[in-house]
């Protein structure tokens, strides 16, 4: 079971990221819990300055852009 967190304060790009992550999870059939982190105090704990950012199992794997679904799938398989 993976925990995926999407860090971002609800900007359009963050919503898009959530969308893509959900699709990637479905496509790969990964058992994962997707969590949206919108509180800045919480986001700052990951030392992330550009949102949206993607955190898988408490590790920041991507910041500052909307990922491609393919890339997320690769990350999920790792």
């Amino acid at each position: 079971m993976k925990t995926i967190k999407i860090l971002g304060s609800g900007c359009p790009k963050c919503l898009k990221t959530t969308d893509i992550v959900e699709k990637a999870v479905k496509a790969t059939g990964t058992a994962a819990k997707i969590e949206k982190v919108e509180e800045f105090a919480e986001i700052m704990k990951y030392n992330v300055m550009s949102t949206p950012a993607l955190v898988i199992d408490e590790e920041v794997v991507m910041t500052g852009r909307v990922p491609k679904q393919k890339d997320v799938e690769t990350l999920l398989k790792a």
Partner: protein, 325 residues
């Protein structure tokens, strides 16, 4: 350089639509076709260039530079320059702000970054380049960067740390060191291209409607409003026109990319360039959405001080350019 666009516009208006030269209608349409193509073309090129710079100099790297190097007072200038090359989005201003102050970067230096970031952004630069030419664009960019530098340095004199929200102050005091991370993959230029292009396309998609509407209104005014109209009402450069222009600009933030083409026509029709410049800086630099976001990390008082300082410097630049240009 843009002869090919003139050719396209000539062909469309005088050949395809079969309009005769020199009428208000054909003038306006020609202006619209020519400007739209030129500006969208420049927008794409400029966002590609900025995207490339940004891909190699992400904000995390810039922050580390400000944190670790002793810059002998030049940190304001650097922060302001970094703000200029970083793409601005009101939703990213808060994490940026927090990242800076948490990293021990002084509040004033952080403000330098925050002032310049929206003021000198790729969309505004591309529009200026297309509408006013490179000299004006350069003047605008330099003014914006200096404004951020001086604004930040001045704000630093006020000791504003106490006016941050409580939890932000707690972060600074604890120097809460979060896990730092490095972007794990280092990509070659070729691998970066698709990301840069899709980012540029996204930016373009986001503003294209505003830009076209703005050019449309500008084109109509270009053809139909008499040349002396604005000179009669706005052009004589009374002292109050500059502050009023800045105030009027604030609510226009969302449509900044549509406002700039209209301003260009106003300038052609006699509005003083300093007043126009102040107005444009007001539309992009004083962003209400940014103020709303910043409310989460600072008190209303600090937001007020921040925005009025920026507004004041914009007004001063407006007067300055009305005198000099």
């Amino acid at each position: 350089m843009f002869d090919w666009i003139t050719a396209i516009a000539d062909y469309t208006i005088y050949h395809l639509l079969n309009l005769s030269e020199g009428t208000s209608l054909s003038e306006s349409l020609h202006f619209f076709v020519y400007d739209s193509i030129k500006i969208l073309f420049l927008l794409f090129i400029v966002t590609l260039i900025m995207g490339t710079i940004n891909s190699y100099l992400p904000v995390e790297k810039l922050k580390r530079f400000l944190q670790e190097k002793n810059l002998f007072g030049f940190e304001y200038l650097f922060a302001s320059l970094f703000g200029a090359i970083t793409p601005f989005c009101s939703c990213s201003s808060v994490p940026l702000f927090l990242g800076f102050v948490q990293g021990g970067i002084p509040l004033g230096v952080t403000f330098s970054f925050l002032i310049t970031s929206p003021l000198v952004n790729e969309v505004a630069l591309a529009l200026f380049l297309g509408l006013f030419g490179w000299e004006f664009t350069l003047i605008y960019a330099i003014t914006g960067i200096l404004l951020g530098t001086i604004g930040g340095a001045v704000l630093n004199l006020f000791n504003l740390e106490d006016d941050l929200s409580d939890w932000v102050r707690a972060i600074i005091e604890k120097k809460q060191t979060a896990r730092s991370h490095e972007e794990s993959l280092s990509e070659s230029f070729r691998e970066r291209i698709p990301g840069i292009v899709s980012e540029a396309t996204d930016i373009l998609k986001g503003v294209v409607l505003y830009v076209l509407v703005g050019i449309g209104i500008g084109a109509a005014m270009h053809g139909y409003v008499p040349d002396t109209f604005f000179q009669t009402y706005l052009g004589s450069g009374e002292w109050w026109t500059v502050p009023v222009a800045v105030l009027l600009a604030v609510p226009l933030y969302a449509g900044a990319s549509g406002v700039i083409p209209i301003i260009q026509v106003l300038v052609v029709k006699g509005v003083p360039i300093g007043t126009a410049l102040a107005f444009m800086m007001g539309t992009v630099g004083l962003s209400l959405p940014e103020a709303t976001m910043l409310k989460k990390v600072m008190t209303m008082k600090l937001i007020f001080v921040f925005f009025s300082t920026v507004a004041l410097f914009i007004i001063i630049s407006g007067y300055f350019f009305n005198l000099v240009l």
